[in-house]
């Protein structure tokens, strides 16, 4: 019995010591590796603050912040007007940018160059052979085989697909008319793979295959990626820098709900998008609300320095300036807090 009491006392003490703020969040899987790094780094500086983030998908993130079951949500694609009408006080905070890269399996063909017409033609099923003039004319130095193109796409609903189909809708009127943009679409051709790893599996296993995955996934797995011609006519290799540029040249609306695909700028990689954290404009819980806003402030400043090492593109400084304004506009129990002064 004595032993038992001692254990109970210890447990009680532990519980007391661990009495700290717990901020819960849920949503997108794409930024999860970065967010967990952020949470652990921030926790080192603020040991009394803990985060619990569940990467259940963007759809789940939007649902949960709308229902108010989490302190923050996270999503890759901004909320639609219909979704916002159910939760009018939700604010989008862009955290980083992600890029979608084109990967292919064509032995001997490195640094393939693709124009937007070629990309949309391939994924529409109009261009079916690697020796097609639409590809060949941009790749005079590469010996393209007379081989059928096997298209691979994501079969699971994902922000990656949303960014890619948004790009295709912008560069190809036919795509916009027949397919459209979304997290799951009706693909005209191709094989669906589940997740980045599924698409990579299909591409690696099928000679002549082409597919799209996240930049972070492609660079960690050293996949061959294509250079894409941007709006200004330059062929751009996907990278953290060229992705950040996409947001720099873009006119930013105050709610940040903007697509940055096919953005202008000489060094801009054209297939990219923001990922967001969703918070309520007015925080109901005083302690948690202030801690969350201070964390977001840290995330868009010091947190950005961690991003490139994990292959996420940091926000360009004009966007950071703009997000600062949004964070200053957040309130805790209807009172503004001095977030910049910490």
């Amino acid at each position: 019995m004595k032993k038992m009491a001692a254990i109970l006392a210890m447990l009680g003490a532990a519980a007391f010591a661990a009495e700290s703020l717990l901020i819960t969040g849920a949503g997108a899987t794409f930024p999860f590796p970065l967010y967990s790094k952020w949470f652990s780094e921030y926790n080192k500086m603020h040991p009394d603050l803990k985060f619990n983030y569940q990467s259940i998908g963007s759809g789940g993130g939007i649902k949960q912040i709308t229902e108010g079951t989490v302190d923050f949500g996270a999503t890759d694609a901004p909320m639609t007007d219909e979704e916002l009408s159910k939760a009018p006080d939700v604010v989008h905070i862009p955290t980083v940018l992600g890029a979608v890269v084109i990967v292919y399996n064509l032995p001997g063909a490195q640094d393939l160059r693709l124009s937007s017409e070629a990309v949309s033609g391939i994924f529409l099923g109009k261009i079916t052979n690697w020796s097609d003039p639409a590809i060949a004319k941009e790749n005079r130095s590469v010996k393209l085989p007379d081989k059928a193109i096997a298209v691979a796409h994501r079969s699971d609903g994902s922000g990656t697909t949303a960014i890619f189909t948004d790009y295709l809708s912008k560069v190809s009127p036919e795509w916009q008319k027949t397919v459209g943009a979304g997290k799951s679409v009706k693909w005209p051709v191709g094989i669906g793979g589940k997740g980045n790893e599924g698409v990579t599996g299909v591409v690696k296993q099928t000679p002549g295959a082409i597919g799209y995955v996240e930049l972070a996934y492609a660079s960690q797995n050293k996949l061959d990626t294509a250079m894409i011609r941007n709006r200004d006519g330059a062929y751009i290799k996907p990278s953290v820098q060229s992705t950040s540029e996409a947001a720099a040249g873009m006119e930013m609306p105050t709610d940040f709900r903007v697509s940055v695909t096919d953005a202008p700028g000489k060094g801009t990689y054209p297939i990219s998008g923001f990922t967001y954290i969703l918070v309520h404009r007015d925080q109901k819980d005083a302690a948690k609300g202030e801690a969350l806003i201070r964390f977001l402030w840290w995330a868009i400043h010091d947190g950005q320095k961690i991003a490139p090492s994990l292959d996420y593109a940091p926000l360009p400084s004009p966007v950071v300036k703009k997000v600062e304004g949004t964070l200053k506009g957040l309130t805790v129990q209807r009172k503004p807090i001095n977030v910049a002064g910490s």
Binding site: G59, S155, G180, G182
Partner: protein
């Protein structure tokens, strides 16, 4: 319940009335407990069906149930939903799995029980049970890295050369498709069907075999006229267990089937299955219509399993009467 009562009766021998009463207290409470457990199963199944129905209702409001089932278009952007490609893919892959596995599994069971030296049985049945323990995602990975290249490079070209006159074996050999999904499933359901069949065959009375052999039957004839008729119902049950697993398998199928919601006559073509599309699209389905359509697919899957199970029960009842007829 009964044996315990008898034991008490034997040991104490009090006046019967008091005994009955005392037994009844324990009995009734235990009885009630069991009723609750049994009721819970019905309740859980009922709640699942009801909540699926409630979620799926918007989809059935937009299109009638028959046109949803017969619809061939699945376009989340335009919010136009039809279930037929998924139903087709589920049935085709499960069908391939049964066609491939049933002869192998039943043959294996007959061999192990009737022909093979008894020492061989554990040598074969241990790896067989191991097959059942492999997680489906591992099957899927094996499918992507081994089965699919093999199908694409050797089997499918060979099939289209030799059997290409059938529409089943035409078209470009992609590797990913109905055939890959069906073959993965056939490996996955092999242990279920084989090990249940082994148990069923073992249960056939020795006297039947001996009688057949004594009448001059060969070993094969003894199996055919004495053992198999006796075990038929059980073997059908084993096949149904396997079919149930094949219908509901998600991960391994989605990794190799190609995930393309279209209907093709060719087994080489990519397809899609009901559980696969639900798993793929549900997490990121934000529009309520999309969610509703996915819930409707879940209901259809539920319905298919229910239908096949009922058919199977009728089938079992029919074949269970079989041996009597053979004997007569």
């Amino acid at each position: 319940m009964l044996p315990e009562a008898e034991i008490r009766l034997g040991r104490e021998r009090p006046r019967p009335r008091r005994l009955l009463q005392r037994v009844n207290i324990g009995d009734t409470s235990f009885n009630a407990l069991l009723w609750i457990f049994a009721g819970a199963v019905l309740l859980i199944a009922g709640v699942i069906v009801f909540s699926l129905w409630a979620t799926a209702r918007p989809a059935f409001k937009a299109v009638s149930i028959p046109s949803f089932i017969a619809g061939q278009n699945w376009d989340p952007v335009q919010e136009s939903f039809g279930a037929l490609p998924f139903i087709f893919g589920t049935l085709v892959t499960s069908g391939i799995a049964l066609v491939v596995t049933v002869p192998v599994a039943v043959g294996l069971a007959i061999f192990l029980v009737e022909m093979a030296p008894s020492r061989l049985r554990p040598v074969v049945s241990f790896p067989l049970e191991l097959l059942a323990a492999i997680p489906s995602v591992v099957y899927g990975l094996w499918g992507i890295f081994v089965l699919v290249p093999w199908l694409r490079d050797s089997t499918e070209p060979l099939l289209s050369v030799t059997l290409g006159f059938l529409p089943l074996f035409r078209g470009p050999p992609l590797g990913f498709g109905y055939l890959a999904g069906g073959l993965i499933l056939s490996v996955m359901i092999l242990p279920t069907i084989a090990s249940v069949s082994i148990e069923v065959l073992k249960a056939a009375p020795e006297s039947l075999r001996e009688a057949a052999l004594a009448l001059g039957a060969t070993r094969w004839e003894a199996v055919r006229v004495a053992v198999i008729p006796y075990s038929r119902a059980g073997i059908v049950g084993a096949i149904l267990l396997g079919l149930g697993r094949a219908l509901g398998e998600t991960m391994a199928v989605t990794m190799v089937i190609g995930n393309s919601p279209e209907i093709h006559a060719s087994l080489f073509a990519p397809g899609y299955s009901l559980p696969a599309v639900i798993a793929n699209e549900f997490a990121e389905a934000t529009s309520s219509m999309h969610t509703a359509a996915l819930a409707a697919l879940a209901l259809i899957l539920f319905g298919i399993t229910l239908l096949l199970n009922s058919v199977a029960r009728l089938l079992i009842r029919a074949v269970a009467r079989g041996p009597a007829r053979v004997a007569a």
